[in-house]
């Protein structure tokens, strides 16, 4: 009798957790149109870092530990277009100065070797 009730309880707990997750996804429209997904990402970017900071402050107060200053959280709503364009510009400018830089470094290396062998 008791094992049957326990297994039923376990099934109900698991079912409610899974059902809650599905409802959360449906309520926040995470699998909906792309506009809503972008809005959710922006909202998460606004809400998550202050929440994490407040949680760390609460943990510090409760435990008396001093957590060192964490680095700024990464921005996960970056613009692909800007980073791609700046990456292309950086690569092309590096390629354009590569021959002159190579000549300069080889000249410096040659001067250094000449001085060492004197």
């Amino acid at each position: 009798m008791v094992p049957r009730v326990w297994s039923l309880m376990r099934f109900l707990i698991k079912g409610s957790v899974a059902g809650g997750a599905v409802y959360l996804v449906y309520d926040q429209e995470l699998l909906g149109p792309s506009d809503k997904s972008q809005a959710v990402l922006q909202k998460a970017e606004e809400v998550v870092p202050p929440a994490m900071y407040q949680f760390s402050q609460y943990v510090c107060e409760q435990t008396g530990l001093k957590i060192p200053q964490l680095p700024a959280p990464p921005k996960f709503n970056f613009h692909i277009r800007d980073t791609w364009n700046s990456g292309i510009i950086m690569v092309m400018s590096a390629l354009s100065v590569a021959p002159s830089k190579a000549r300069e470094y080889s000249k410096e290396g040659w001067e250094y070797l000449k001085e060492r062998t004197k």
């Binding site: 698991k14 079912g15 957790v17 899974a18 997750a21 599905v22 996804v25 995470l30 699998l31 149109p33 792309s34 506009d35 997904s37 972008q38 809005a39 959710v40 990402l41 996960f76 709503n77 613009h79 692909i80 277009r81």
Partner: protein, 78 residues
């Protein structure tokens, strides 16, 4: 389609892909832990579903350039 509009569409596609793959992975994780005895296939299935939905959304977005996209604006507190 202008360059800036194309860039905005790509940004929207990437954001959508991140959210959908993450959601699919999360749901797969929940179901894997609750009903499927910590197997890997629900995670792969969920991530794949999310990726497919994001790809489909992007495809519709790029192939239908005349649809207007709204922006969610916060209302000022009164």
């Amino acid at each position: 389609m202008s360059d800036s509009e194309l860039g905005r569409k790509w940004d929207r596609c990437m954001a959508d892909a991140v959210v959908k793959i993450g959601t699919g992975f999360g749901l797969g994780l929940v179901f894997s832990l609750t009903f499927f005895k910590r197997r890997m296939w629900p995670l792969a299935f969920g991530s794949g579903m999310g990726l497919g939905m994001a790809y489909s959304n992007c495809q519709h977005d790029f192939q239908a350039p005349y649809l207007l996209h709204g922006k969610y604006v916060k209302e000022p507190e009164q």
